[in-house]
Amino acid sequence: MGEIHAATQAEIRIRKLLPASPQEVFDAWTDPESLKVWFCPGDTMRTEAELDLRVGGQYRIVMHAEKTDYIHTGEYCEILPAQRLVFTWRSTMTHNEDTLVTVELYPRGDQTELVLIHERLPSADVAASYNAGWLTIVEKFAAYLR
């Protein structure tokens, strides 16, 4: 039961192979015009993106959908072109609490492996305090469900 196990994670980690160079992928994350194109969900009608790309600089992405606006804001913590981008992330999805997103880029031939880590998710402070005992419970629980 992988799903049950996921409940103990304070972070998520996603890997994806992308058909572009690390620099091109980095640009897609840091150029407001590019971000507007790929970052919007399907029902977005218009997106505004303001990025102050420097350590300590703020970004603000506003997506106007039919019924509501989605506002994502945060601050850049680390900027290493073509390698690494770290920023805080705050939106209704994170209950307006600061979370941390790290994007790492690794060259793989003519492609790029992107590793995205989203941590400090709400309730993560409690999740992080789970000890080995709790992990045992999860395993037993998984066995119980089988």
Partner: protein, 124 residues
């Protein structure tokens, strides 16, 4: 983010806080661990713990409020059993973040692919 996702996350927030708070205590985790094996009477459940019956009862009530434990009264005895639903919701909650990023990164992939074709067409 899609409105559907947004509502889902908001709806689950309060329940999840309760689930996580309930799970944050070692005694309560030990109680759950025992109930995972089989249901138990409140009195029997309190026995192995080095604390008063009242203290154990308080922990049980926290677990009940979080929906992790169900109480059934048969005659004069109160029986406790485990309810898996909140744990399922906790895992769904983390999955919404994963789904969100999976979708965004899928868009990023198509965007990069289109860009590449665009560039080739321009240079030809």
């Amino acid at each position: 983010m899609a409105p559907k996702l947004n509502r889902m996350v908001e709806h689950q927030n309060t329940n999840l806080d309760r689930t996580y708070a309930a799970l944050s205590d070692p005694t309560r985790r030990a109680i759950l661990s025992r109930l995972m094996q089989h249901e138990a009477r409140v009195t029997a459940l309190a026995e192995p713990f080095d604390m008063s019956f009242n203290a154990v009862s308080k922990h049980v009530r926290v677990l009940e409020r979080a929906g992790l434990v169900r109480r059934e009264i048969r005659g004069r005895e109160h029986y406790l059993s485990l309810d898996a639903t909140p744990l399922m919701e906790a895992s769904e909650w983390i999955d919404t973040y994963r789904a969100f990023w999976d979708k965004r990164l899928g868009h990023l992939e198509s965007f990069l692919r289109r860009n590449k074709t665009g560039k080739k067409e321009r240079t030809v």
